[in-house]
Point group: C2
Chain length 447, copies 2
């Protein structure tokens, strides 16, 4: 296997036939290809062609995990001897308690530790949330996605046999968003509304008035609000999170009794490889009972169904050592150690530079404002190019220049022309190269 050469624009653009060949070999349709499939495609091209891509397809943290987590895992393994013992299926007690403290100090919401349930990443938390919400009421088997979003949530709904509806942030923000959700909810078939904020992929962030409105809609119609906080604390316009000090992380937990808020350690703490997150159930939802849950989970209780009816049969429990790693991170955060929040600022710095290079070379942002304000710089941004009406075609061309991304179409967006770009893996050594490749791309467009 040949090592990729150091980044250089001289070998680009690759021939269109080369890209076509790899797509055919891997039987890939760029329009529907998953992130992981694009990832594998690009890896194959890199190895085969001996080139190095600027990889923006994968929402993977590009910074090492904080030592406080690593050392806590090691202590748990060596000294606390956790490796042979199953964790409780609703999580290690100390982590549940620290998580409740974190929710109070950084979200300004009080919940008991029993409502803070560790999960194998937010992926599992989201899966469990959909599994329970989709089985509360037989007549409600449809999830409303506020789009664009994380593509895998759609795979989850499909796995669970749930229907899907979509509402796009592009033309729905503020009162218009809340009204549109309310009228869809009135249809009576919606079991849950799911969104991510700060949003993957647009980096818009729902504000308190929108969350208040969404919460009211959920309470009015008995719908579960599932809030994916994969990018908790990463809206850098709000400054570094400080315990017990506003502005708190905006959350729908404050505005509905029917909320599940999913806090991920993957991006905020750059800890994706060990798969650990926290699902926070609003206490009323956890205590709620529904007869129809019994058929699938053997219990009427929503809280019990979540941990005992889903998390337990899926994987028995969350692996032990990562729970201690996250415990240490939350403890540090709760004590005011700001170093644990460092990744957000670095991603924002990278995104600002990358966005500028795209804009200088004829691209524009697809989702280009946040309720009229400029978007924050963060983990993701969205781009399109006036010469391409189709994101698939744009991506196919960018691949020739050694630049990878995913189409907005796979994120559920109504904007077929756009791509999602992730800033996390593009470090300082690649910025000039990115600029150079985009310049050559721009040249070819105008030639």
């Amino acid at each position: 296997m040949s090592q990729p050469r150091s980044a250089t624009s001289t070998t680009f653009p690759l021939d269109r036939a080369v890209i076509r060949r790899f797509l055919e070999e891997q039987k890939l349709d760029l329009r529907t290809a998953s992130i992981r499939e694009i990832n594998r495609l690009v890896g194959t091209i890199e190895r085969d062609q001996g080139v190095r891509f600027i990889r923006m397809e994968f929402g993977i943290p590009g910074l090492p995990a904080h030592p406080v987590a690593i050392e806590a895992e090691i202590r748990a393994l060596r000294e606390q001897d956790v490796a042979h013992v199953y964790a409780p299926f609703d999580g290690v007690s100390a982590l549940k308690e620290e998580a409740a403290r974190f929710v109070e100090r950084f979200m300004g919401v009080v919940v008991p530790p029993s409502c803070c349930i560790p999960t194998i990443g937010t992926m599992e938390g989201c899966f469990a949330s959909l599994a329970v919400a989709g089985r509360l009421t037989r007549s409600r088997r449809t999830v409303l996605f506020l789009d664009p979003g994380f593509p895998v949530n759609r795979l989850q709904a499909r796995f669970l046999g749930l229907g899907v509806r979509s509402l796009d942030f592009y033309d729905h923000r503020g009162p218009r968003l809340v009204d549109a959700v309310d009228s869809l909810a009135a249809g009576g078939d919606i079991c849950a509304i799911l969104w991510s904020s700060p949003n993957n992929p647009t980096w818009i962030a729902l504000d308190e008035s929108e969350l208040l409105g969404l919460g009211r809609v959920c309470d009015r119609h008995g719908i579960v609000a599932i809030e994916d906080l994969a990018y908790f604390g990463m809206d850098v316009r709000r400054g570094v999170p400080r315990p017990g000090t506003p502005p708190y992380q905006p959350t729908v937990l404050r505005s509905t009794k029917h909320a599940i808020s999913l806090i991920s350690a993957s991006k905020m703490f750059s800890y994706a490889g060990q798969r650990i997150g926290i699902a926070v159930l609003s206490p009323d939802l956890a205590a709620m009972e529904a007869e129809e849950l019994v058929e699938f989970f053997g219990t009427r209780s929503v809280g019990h169904a979540f941990s005992h009816g889903v998390l337990y049969p899926i994987a028995a429990c969350v692996p032990q050592a990562p729970q201690y790693g996250l415990l240490a991170l939350l403890r540090a955060a709760n004590a005011g150690d700001e170093s644990v929040f460092a990744p957000a600022a670095e991603y924002a710095r990278r995104a600002a530079i990358m966005k500028r290079k795209f804009l200088e070379n004829g691209f524009r942002l697809v989702y280009d404002n946040d309720l009229g304000r400029p978007l924050a710089d963060g983990f993701y941004f969205t781009v399109c190019h006036p010469a391409y009406a189709s994101g698939v075609e744009l991506l196919r061309e960018l691949l020739r220049y050694g630049i990878s991304a995913i189409t907005l179409e796979t994120t559920g967006s109504c904007r077929k022309e756009g791509l999602r770009a992730c800033a996390s893996l593009v470090g300082d050594d690649l910025f000039d190269e990115l600029g150079e490749r985009l310049r050559r791309f721009a040249e070819e467009q105008s030639s």
Copy 2:
């Protein structure tokens, strides 16, 4: 919280009203209570009454994990910097390769690394197997459990909306087992047959002729054989496993094209807390295509549905460090390091002592032979007492004596009189106490 006193029989038996009160408080029905619920019940009684139970309810490894795994995890975290990076959704390559080598050396079966898929414990492997098998064909939505078995597999089937049928080993072994499975399979609604061997809870082990017969039935009817090898290499009658040397682990992989064999690290290597196992798909099954999979997984391919359609949306990937831990264990095993297999012998030693104490005090084994041969001593055994026709009543009484177990009924057994006892948590310091408590129990029976 009061610490449990050291084990002593003087406080036992507890009053029947005390046990009743705890059951009512926790709204527990002993007949259907899950292992984890019994576990929590007993923990509560211990704390409240200041007593120490002899805990046989939980199939949890009682020995520390092997240092080779712990040190490999630590290296992965500290030196290989894996904590922030998602693993491939079909597993770390080196682990897949080492697993294929392990399958060849210890099972005598050749499969490519692509067919060895790391999972978050065998629990996730089993869940994924049922999820895929249950959706291959619309007309086949029923799982045949060879019972008794691991109770959580039934929760998995219920979660997935699959029907369940049961055939009991108690009166079906040898050709009788194969014939009975064949005639059930002829019904046309069975998608999968699932069993564990060495068996949880009876510790019987299917022999090569039974596996051959079951494999043929699966091929004939297009049914997936799901073999839970949670106790791989732990039938001590066969001696310590040696690489490339018969007797190999009996496996249905040898006798059908439609097999999934689930290899767990939890008990064999005492590694349950970190949740890591390997699902081995027979190559023909992995390559099989079925149009009906598309609706749920977006792919026709069984192998792709397994990793990309189930494992990916459930938890994104298997946590990284435990994959390196298991890699180190398999590498040691493949190189002939017998120390990694040490737990089996220790559990067998404990089980032999415990069984004797039960038998000396009027109990008998429920499943009491293995195709006419004596059962091996191992992780579990099954007991009943002639004075009790109901396992629930027997358990309720034993709880008074500070002895906990689960009913065979919850394991799907047709023998309502029995209990499952796990030997793993009962160490040398408790053997005399177990004997004394059982002696007092026996006295009360005859008084």
